[in-house]
Each structure stands twice: as C-alpha cells, then as structure tokens.
Amino acid sequence: MTRQMTGAEMVVQAMQDQGVEHIFGYPGGAVLPIYDALFQQDKVKHVLVRHEQGAVHAAEGYARSSGKVGCVLVTSGPGATNAVTGLTDAMLDSIPLVCITGQVPTHLIGSDAFQECDTVGITRHCTKHNYLVRSIEDLPRILHEAFYVASNGRPGPVVIDIPKDVQFAKGSYARPMSNQHKTYRPQIKGDMGKIQAAVDLIASAKRPVFYTGGGVVNSGPEASALLRELVRLTGYPITSTLMGLGSYPASDSQWLGMLGMHGTYEANLAMHDCDVMICIGARFDDRITGRLDAFSPKSKKIHVDIDPSSINKNVRVDIGIVGDCGHVLEDMVRLWRAQAPQVDKAALGEWWKRIDGWRARNCLGYRNDSKVIKPQYAIQRLYELTKDRDVYVTTEVGQHQMWAAQYFKFEEPNRWMTSGGLGTMGYGLPAAVGTQMAHPGALVIDIAGEASILMNMQEMSTALQYRLPVKIFILNNEYMGMVRQWQELLHGGRYSESYSAALPDFVKLAEAYGGHGIRCSDPAELDHAILEMIDTPKPVIFDCIVAKEENCFPMIPSGKAHNEMILPDFEGKTGDIIDAKGRELV
C-alpha cells in the first residue's frame, strides 16, 4: 500500500516495517524532522545517549547480544564525526548496524554550511556501504536496502546520510516486497565439492584442531549448535578467537580455551603443532597468528568464511570455502553423518595425550594473595558468583579485557560483547547499555579498567535515565595496565604517561550519577561485595582495587611464535624478552 508522507516519516515507518524496537541517538539541527516523527509514534523507542560514540557502541552491544540490526540516529557534522569510531569498530568486528545521519539541505552541501561535513566521504572506509540520499524518491528503497546490506553477507555498518530538505519533502512510501539490494548477493551456500574435500581432510587428520571465530556467532545460534555437533562427532579439540567465545561451551572437555597473543598454552601449541586446521569464521588476524612465517608450519588448512577477501589474505590455505558458517557446518555435519568416516583413533589418542600434557602446565595459574585482590581472582569470583544467572558481559579494552576472556567462561554465543578488531577503549559501558536494552531482565556486566571506563563514563547517565541496572566492574590498578605491561616488556619499565593520576572517587561518581558505588580492596570481602553489586537493582560502579603491577599472561611476545609463549610464573627480568627489532612493531 502506497502512502504519502515526509522523508522523516518514511525513516520511522521503514524502521517500524523492519521491526526495529530501539534506536540509539542524539538529536541536532539536521535531524529535527526525524525526531519530530519519532515523537508522534510509540513503536520505535528512542534511547538518548550522552555522546554519539556511545550511541554506536550501544547499538553494537544491542546487535551483538540479540542478533538484530542495531540502529543509530545522529545529526550532521559533529554528530556524524563522533560516530566514526563506533562505525569503524562495527566494521572491524562485523556488527550489523544502520546509522542515519542528518545532513545540511541539499543546496548547501559543499558550501561549508553550519555543522556540515562530508559524511559519506568520511565514512566510506569505515562502513560496509553508505548512501547520500539526494531525492525523496530514492529514500524508501535505500532505507530498506540498508538493512539488507548491513545484515547479509559479512555483516557491517551502513550509513544513510539524509539532507534536511529530503526529510521535509513529501513522497510516496510503500514497503518493498523484498528489501534486497538489486545486485548485491553474497554467497551463502558453500561449494559442495570443496566441503566434501574438507570433510575428507578432517577425517584423515592425526593432529587436528578447530579454530573458530566471530563468524560463527554472527551466523546465529544454529551455527553454534552445528559447530558443537561437528566437534563432538569428530572428537577433535577446539579453540576460538576473542570474538568467537561462547559459540562452543567453555565447560566442555574438548575446549582448549582462547588462542592468540593472550591465549592458552594448550590452544596455541595445538595450533602450532596440528596437521589439519579447521578455521571457521575467523580471519587469521595478527593477534592470532603471531609471526606469520612460524605460524602452524606443519598443517593443512581449511578456511570457511563468508567474505572471499578473508581467504588467503594473511595465510595461504589449502581449502578455502566461501559461504555462511551455519550453512557450511550444516553440510559438513550431514556429510559426516552420512559417511561416518573412520578417524585415526590411535593418532588422536596420542594427540590428546600431548594436549593434556600442555594443559597440565596450567597456564592460567597465578599466585593468589590474601592481602591484595589479584585481577584474575576478581574475574574468577565474578564468574563463579554469576554463572547460574542470565548474564551478559561487555568489556573495555586492555588487561581487564584479556583477563575477562581468560577467566570468565562462556557457555552460549551472544553473551560476550567486546571490541576485538579495533580495540576501542570506552566500548564496554555503552555496549552494556545497549545489551541491557535488548535484555531487560538480564544481569549485564561491563568488565572495565579505571582508564577505559572514563572514556565513555557519560553513558552512566543514559543507564540511569532508562533504569538500566548495568554493573560496571572496574579492575582498578591505577594504570593503563596493558600499556604499562608493554612498557615493562619493551621500554625498560619507563612508564611514560600510563599512570592513571587524578582518578575520580568512583563510589562518589556512581552516587553523583544516581547509581550505587561499591569499593573493595580486600580479597576476603570480595564475594560479599560482588553479591551486593548483583543484588542492587540499579546501575552500580564497583571499584575493585587490584594488584597494581600484575601482568597479563600467558603471552606471545613480540618477535616470537606460538610455541615461544611467556607463562605466568616467569620470574626472569621481563625487560629482556623482546629484542630491539621486535620493539619497533608491537
């Protein structure tokens, strides 16, 4: 049914037609007509953030935890430029977003008008696709196409820049029968010949390992279920990237823990020594591979990815399968079940024996302390005290993020929201706001550092406004801990500008915002304090005072390969670990 309406009304109508329930945004001159249209309906709920970067991260948390497309609405100029970090973050972590930006009226574009910037120019490289809407006739198609592009193929952020005169203009709107793009058709089904070859190679493996990533999470819960099925059918070990945590349950005996720079000893050595690597929805990022020339030198590699440009980009693989992880896994499981191949049980037994030897090294062990809270201990207790609840975890970026990935065990996908590719400090709190919006009854915890949290602290105000009882669990070591750790390892312990001086009193800060503040520095009181946090039905800032100079181990240092990790009880002088050349390229 075609109806006459303004461009601004079309924006809201298209959102409704797409089933959008929440949109994160901040008003301004160039989007006032859209805010006016939002005001006159109640299907799409607007969440007013305190900074546009927060709006995008909130939409990311919302999208990542719910599997829906996250929506953002910001004004022209500074509204759009403030959103750029969030858009880039979503681009690198493949998060589906639709971000609507206001623009100055069409006739003023290019005149350096008030709050004008070249939004499509600025966001061209940090979005999957973007549009400048030049006429009202194009608007309905673009609005729906944007949702298709954001969520199909490798997901990503899409920007729609709408000049103010187009928002005011009247035109006819009809919900398109299909919102497909006219030509963009990502390949979903994998090539059956290659899938069969992959199954044969998997079946012939003597030292296999599954290496999975965020693509499995993006593919939906069915993909995780199929992954579990295939891994159990084969009996092979599995590891995952930071982005893929939760797609395979951490409590399972075949789970090796996270791999990569701060991954477990057993996961990294299994990657290094395997003969068949089955990479599903991961992209051989440099935090995973370490030194490329020493990366898993003896293995044949299978790579399943929906983005053809990811295959053979960093690492040459033997079988590259373009397709959606869920569809390819479904085919693999079906072939495996039908053919019931005989795996080499003796070789697998040997392999598992070696893995168990590496596990016995207990690489996540640490020396606990009765006087000072060790950050690892804090995460372990947080996990133990929340694991039976409906819990979602977001993080900021740094040591606390890695400790959270190492010590918090995830059993389900979509429970873990972190900035992986871009490494954006300040991600966690707004992402928690978005996550809580999608899951009102759940326990949402932002595991934070005292430095990161200050980057988007203002979103505490958003949490209060919408009664979102997010919990900010700060591992406060008074340092930008990861920076300090690298300075210790690489720069002779010269802690240049990494000390968090002049910190606010986080308890008072929580109270100033109208939330609840808790401080804990005694390991004996930690459990009690965490329970108090969980039981407080409003936003909480938990200032957990932890050991100041604890390093995050295990770690693959600069200049080393997977089998040259530093383990936690390393007692030598850490300043000698990395050579001069390695220092240049950290």
């Binding site: 999957k128 720079m261 030194r291």
Partner: protein, 181 residues
C-alpha cells in the same frame, strides 16, 4: 641484539615477482562509486597504473571500469576479492588471466614547430597512422590510438619534433573471442 627482524606483526614479505594485470569491473553507476574504488586502492596500498571509467549500459546505469594494476599473485587476488565485495560492484574480471586481451588507449598530441621539424612531424604522424585533428601554420594536434607501447613510441619520436602537450585516456580493454563479459 642484531637479530633478524622478528615481531608479533609479520615481517614484510620477501620481494616476489610482480605482474601487470588488467581488470574489468562492472559497477552500478551511482554517486561515489569511483571514490569507493580509488579509495580501496589507496587505503590498502595497491597500485593503479591506469584507470578508465565510462557508462556502458545507460538504461541499466552500469559503468565499466578498466584498471591496470601491478602486484604479486597474492596481491592481485586480494585486489579482485576486495573489489568484488564492494556493494555496487557487479563483476570483476581479470582479463590478463583469460589470455591476451585487446588493450587500446587514445592520445591527443600537440606539436609546435616550423620548417623541417614541422614536415618531419607530419611525416611521422602519417607513419604511425595518427589523424590530424587541428592544424595551424605553426602547430598540429594529432590523435593516435594504440597499445600503451605504441603510444609511448609515438610520443618519443614526437618529442624530437616539437611536442608540447599530451592528453591520454587510459586503457579500454576487452577479451578476445566470442565470449562476452
């Protein structure tokens, strides 16, 4: 401390043989599409040796972009994959791996001179099959079409007889045989 370059980031790859490839890219003729493609090359550090863009199917708003680039085999594969994942890109075809393609470019060449050099310019232009588009008592503008090498040769000889200005189109390319893109 004089260890070889080792780092958590991979070392720069050893120099590998580079090859020149001609790519035909069919795209939606929409605003910004050229910026997207040019930006992809600059953002990811790829070379563009020549770039030719024109709308080829007016009703369908389809443009054909011909890109000449150089790189290692892996880089060329990445360029094609990265181009192909741009939303407005329909198809990417590597004409170079399909056998020798037909490649032509056009140049306009202004030559100024009198006397013997003027006569010589006229004679050479005839030898290269160039057309004379404009002539005054002291100048010519020639149009010459050919492969890049042929144009280069023409420009080299013209530079001796008073070449003052050149305008070139970049390459238009097409695969041989009955098959269409």
């Amino acid at each position: 401390m004089n260890m070889p370059m080792k780092s958590h980031y991979s070392d720069a790859p050893k120099a590998q043989p580079q090859a020149r490839h001609t790519l035909s890219v069919l795209v939606d003729n929409e605003p910004g599409v050229l910026a997207r493609i040019a930006g992809l090359f600059s953002g990811r550090g790829y070379n563009i040796e020549s770039l030719t863009v024109s709308e080829t199917e007016h009703e369908k708003h389809v443009s054909r972009i011909t890109i000449v680039t150089t790189g290692t085999g892996q880089v060329i594969d990445q360029i094609k994959a990265q181009l192909d994942r741009l939303v407005p890109v329909h198809r990417v075809v590597d004409l170079t791996i399909q056998g020798e393609a037909i490649e032509r470019e056009l140049a306009l060449v202004k030559v100024v001179g009198t006397g013997e050099s003027r006569v010589e310019a006229m004679r050479l232009a005839g030898a290269f099959g160039a057309r004379t588009l404009d002539a005054t008592l002291t100048s010519f503008v020639f149009e010459v079409t050919g492969t890049t090498d042929e144009i280069e040769r023409f420009l080299r000889v013209m530079s001796v007889v008073g070449l003052v200005e050149v305008s070139r189109t970049g390459i238009a390319a097409m695969a041989r045989g009955a098959e269409a893109l």
